[in-house]
């Protein structure tokens, strides 16, 4: 059952100890003492003991991570969280029954995988990104270990999906949720351009903040062709990976919350509800703005960062630049100016992102399904009634498709553009441009943010 790859992945004691020693002085002596003895126990094959100690330490780090603002927490606690997650996952894995009972083995692997994912989500990269690599191997083991019947079935479905449109997830569309298709008026339509030159895109769209739908850019992605992102495919590649899910229609609503769950459960409970759950009231779940491709790098092979996202406009120093410098050394990696920030947006029909704006250039790639999108340029802000206060100042109070004329009288006079974004299309949204997004079908979009 042990694969050579996995064996090669196993960290050496010296490298773990080295990583731990780098934290000395930054974490309290008692924690340092316990981490050392935890690592020691693991390599002395006292896996029960290393497991207990890792759990104690994870809980302690968790409390540290929850003190004050996340961004102000010393990164050493996130590293410590990752190291303890690694030891915990390895301890669980080492305790796995060597062969025979397939069922219990897969449970152990899933548990270990969940621990890895928590280490990735809450921690910081350690030992050359060992956690995502370990998670990949564990997922492969789990998928390989599936009982023959269901494995074949999945493969078949995914094969079918690549050929036949019927089995594709879009067909779930009208069945699962009552979705209203808006009529797009010709006056408001967002123009489409087929694969423009970088120069054209920069001159006529980026520099003048003019939204555009780009066609012929992403439609050759493996995610849309050879490795089509069907539900079955996603389940096979990442079904047991833990992902954060937003529950509730809009993030501005009171009942909005976040939960962690395996992708497979998200798909079965929220994306593809069965007959029995269809009628009853089930909240909307949305895998939104998650850096899925950092967590699961193998999914990056299915997409390509559009060349347009590498265009830099040398502009006057922006507000964001100043804001970013305030935090000094403690800034989190994703604020790196040169990085293209890639986020996944995956959910059923009916997910809504309320009208808001973001500080960066944004290319929204529609891979699966359709989304209704409404755009208001920055100069319309006075008619859009942003929320007051620090937290939601970039979000409008108006329910775009059902505005209250009494509360927001100016809103109806604001100029806008709109579209129903189709699979294979890439929408450019300029910085600070207000956007409202509602999925009309099961939908998977990828957004690229850059400065």
């Amino acid at each position: 059952m042990f694969q050579q790859v996995l064996k090669d992945l196993m960290p050496k004691k010296a490298s773990v100890m080295n990583e731990v020693s780098l934290m000395r002085g930054k974490i309290s002596p008692d924690v340092n003492f316990l981490i050392n003895s935890c690592v020691e126990d693991y390599f002395n094959e006292k896996h029960q003991l290393s497991l207990s100690k890792a759990e104690e330490l994870l809980d302690f780090c968790w409390e540290k991570l929850n003190k004050g603002h996340w961004k102000n927490v010393d990164i050493v606690w996130r590293k410590a969280y990752s190291i303890c997650s690694l030891i915990k996952a390895l301890s669980i894995f080492s305790e796995a029954p060597s062969s025979g009972q397939l069922g219990s083995e897969s449970l152990v692997l899933k548990k270990a995988l969940e621990v890895c994912d928590m280490g990735i989500l809450m921690g910081a990269p350690i030992l050359d990104g060992i956690l995502p690599q370990l998670a990949l191997q564990l997922q492969l083991l789990i998928t390989a270990g599936k009982p023959e019947g269901s494995k074949n079935e999945e493969v078949q479905v995914s094969n079918c999906a690549t050929e036949k449109e019927e089995t594709y997830m879009v067909t779930k569309r009208a069945k699962t949720r009552h979705v209203i298709y808006p009529k797009i008026s010709p006056r408001h339509v967002i123009p489409k351009v087929n694969c423009p030159s970088l120069h054209h895109f920069q001159m006529y769209h980026m520099e003048v903040a003019r939204p555009v739908i780009l066609t012929g850019v992403i439609d050759k992605w493996p995610a849309m062709t050879s490795r089509k992102w069907s539900l079955a495919y996603l389940n096979t590649v990442a079904g047991d990976r833990t992902i954060p899910v937003e529950i509730g229609t809009k993030y501005t609503e009171d009942d909005w919350s976040q939960k962690l769950m395996p992708l497979r459960e998200f798909i079965s409970s929220f994306v593809e509800p069965t007959e029995s759950t269809e009628e009853t009231e089930c909240p909307v779940g949305y895998l939104a703005q998650h850096q899925l491709f950092n967590q699961i790098p193998e999914l990056l092979d299915d997409i390509t960062i559009p060349d347009y996202c590498y265009i830099k406009i040398c502009s006057y120093p922006s507000d964001e630049g100043k804001y970013g410098k305030e935090g000094e050394g403690t800034e989190v990696v994703d604020d790196d100016d040169d990085e293209v920030d890639i986020n996944a947006w995956f959910g059923p029909a009916g997910t809504i992102s309320p009208l808001h704006h973001d500080p960066k250039h944004n290319c929204l790639a529609q891979v699966v399904g359709e989304k209704y999108i409404r755009l208001y340029s920055q100069d319309q802000s006075s008619k859009l009634y942003p929320h007051q206060g620090f937290l939601l100042h970039n979000t409008s109070q108006v329910d775009v498709e059902n505005p209250s004329a009494a509360r927001f009288p100016e809103f109806s006079s604001a100029c806008y553009q709109e579209c129903i974004l189709q699979p294979g299309e890439l929408l450019y949204i300029p910085p600070k441009c207000w956007h409202y997004v509602r999925s009309l079908t099961t939908s998977f979009s990828v957004s690229f943010w850059w400065n």
Partner: protein, 447 residues
């Protein structure tokens, strides 16, 4: 970026709820008298027949247990007898607990159990020049108050206790009466009832007056918030309010100066306690008020389960009276509320409609086990759990239980106050002291 990366997110729903004032009702029942806190420095005689028990996290062997076999366990789920015998009825001060060590007050010595000076130890004796009146754990080390002078003894790198004089500008020679600390700062109540903070720079100690508007009687600190009880029975709070733990009705990033908790201003409060991110207060009528973060059910209100089942459509209408979650299944998520957030959640946070509560921004009465009315005498909060003693001397615990801190013989996390019965129903609980992932109890056994 309208949303933050998920792990940077302001978590879930913020609820704001008014207190159900039952003062009038209670007064009709005929004003039940509650003893005011007896201060430890006032009493002196040894209590015979009273025992200290403790449970919870013991990964460093920090619990001073009589049983050597139990001493080896990393998690102690049933309360176990301790070697410690306090000389009065208040536990806090006669012993002090950090995450990895426990300090006991023994006349001219401080006894240390657990992690100390780069190793684990048991019954390490630290001699003092004078009688020690109380001990306090701070950042893995110990602070002590000698009974003779009003100074502060601080452990130096050479393992000697050094006297630190409290010199507050304008208040010469203020004696120290009591102290507590957040993760970063020590707060002191002086003999003239002022609140003073103690900060250490490289060589010196800086005392700074924080609050003198009203005479302070009791201080209690959480991880990053502070609460004081005045002689008049009013409660003030300051520090971080990111989880609603300040009780001012909103999520607050930081409150610099002590601010009265208005929701409690009409009440006479007799006891307070700060947990990691939650707070509790007991009124003279025996009502328990609680607020802050309910992430592990530490408020005693229905908590949001992290299990997906909650979101599946419910086809059965059977209501579960309590939700018991082995913590192993609970996936924790950090949630950092944002700066100066003024998010007045409209949803009612109460047990009546059985909707789960993540935060309570204002003090709310906790009915221990309705419809029975239980009056509370004393409350103490650990990092993520809570314990309360009723006027009959029963102990209830709830909240985070993964390390056995609830004392029910298991590692369950409970969001329902649950009576601790393992020592027998006849025992009377005199005092309870929760800190970090541990619970200490002072028990009078039936004769």
């Amino acid at each position: 970026m309208h949303r933050h990366p998920w792990n940077n997110n302001s978590d879930e729903v913020f609820s704001l709820s008014p207190i159900k004032t039952r003062k009038a009702l209670r007064q009709r029942l005929g004003g039940i008298h509650v003893d005011k806190c007896i201060f430890w420095h006032m009493a002196g005689e040894k209590y015979v027949g009273k025992m200290v028990y403790s449970c919870g996290f013991n990964g460093f062997g920090q619990l001073p247990l009589v049983s050597l076999e139990m001493q080896k366990k990393r998690v102690v789920t049933f309360p176990q007898l301790c070697t410690h015998r306090p000389c009065h009825e208040i536990l806090a001060g006669t012993l002090a607990l950090g995450w990895s060590s426990c300090f006991l007050c023994k006349d001219k010595e401080i006894e240390i159990h657990g992690f100390f000076s780069e190793q684990t130890t048991r019954e390490h004796k630290l001699p003092c020049i004078c009688d020690v009146q109380s001990v306090h754990a701070f950042q893995g080390s110990v602070l002590a108050l000698p009974s003779s002078c009003g100074a502060l003894l601080m452990l130096m790198e050479n393992m000697q206790l050094k006297e630190v004089k409290a010199e507050v500008k304008g208040h010469d020679d203020s004696k120290i009466m009591s102290l507590d600390s957040t993760d970063d700062t020590v707060y002191i109540v002086t003999e003239n009832h002022h609140l003073v903070s103690l900060e250490q720079n490289t060589t010196d100690f800086i005392f700074q007056e924080i609050f003198s508007d009203q005479p302070v009687e009791v201080i209690s600190c959480g991880k990053e918030h502070v609460m004081v009880l005045t002689i008049a029975g009013s409660v003030f709070s300051f520090g971080s309010g990111s989880r609603g733990q300040l009780g001012h009705g909103i999520v607050q990033d930081k409150v610099e100066k002590p601010l009265e908790i208005e929701a409690l201003s009409a009440l006479q409060i007799t006891g307070i306690s700060c947990g990691g991110w939650h707070s509790a207060a007991v009124s003279e009528h025996g009502d328990l008020y609680i607020w802050g973060w309910n992430e592990s059910g530490q408020l005693g209100f229905l908590m949001k389960s992290s299990k997906i089942d909650d979101f599946r459509p419910k086809n059965s209408t059977s209501k579960e009276s309590s939700s018991i979650t082995p913590v192993d299944d609970a996936i924790h998520q950090p949630s950092t509320a944002n700066k100066d957030q003024e998010w007045h959640g409209s949803r009612k946070a109460s047990t009546e409609d059985n909707s789960p509560v993540t935060f309570l921004m204002s003090p709310q009465i906790l009915d221990m086990c309705p419809p029975e009315e239980i009056l509370i005498k004393k409350v103490s909060c650990g990092s993520r759990h809570t314990a309360a003693i009723t006027q009959e001397g029963h102990l209830y615990t709830w909240g985070f239980g993964r390390w056995g801190q609830l004392g029910h013989g298991n590692e369950w996390t409970l969001d329902t106050p649950t009576r601790a019965e393992s020592l027998g129903l006849g025992v009377k609980f005199i005092d309870v002291y929760c800190k970090e992932w541990n619970t200490f109890m002072l028990v009078e056994e039936p004769t």
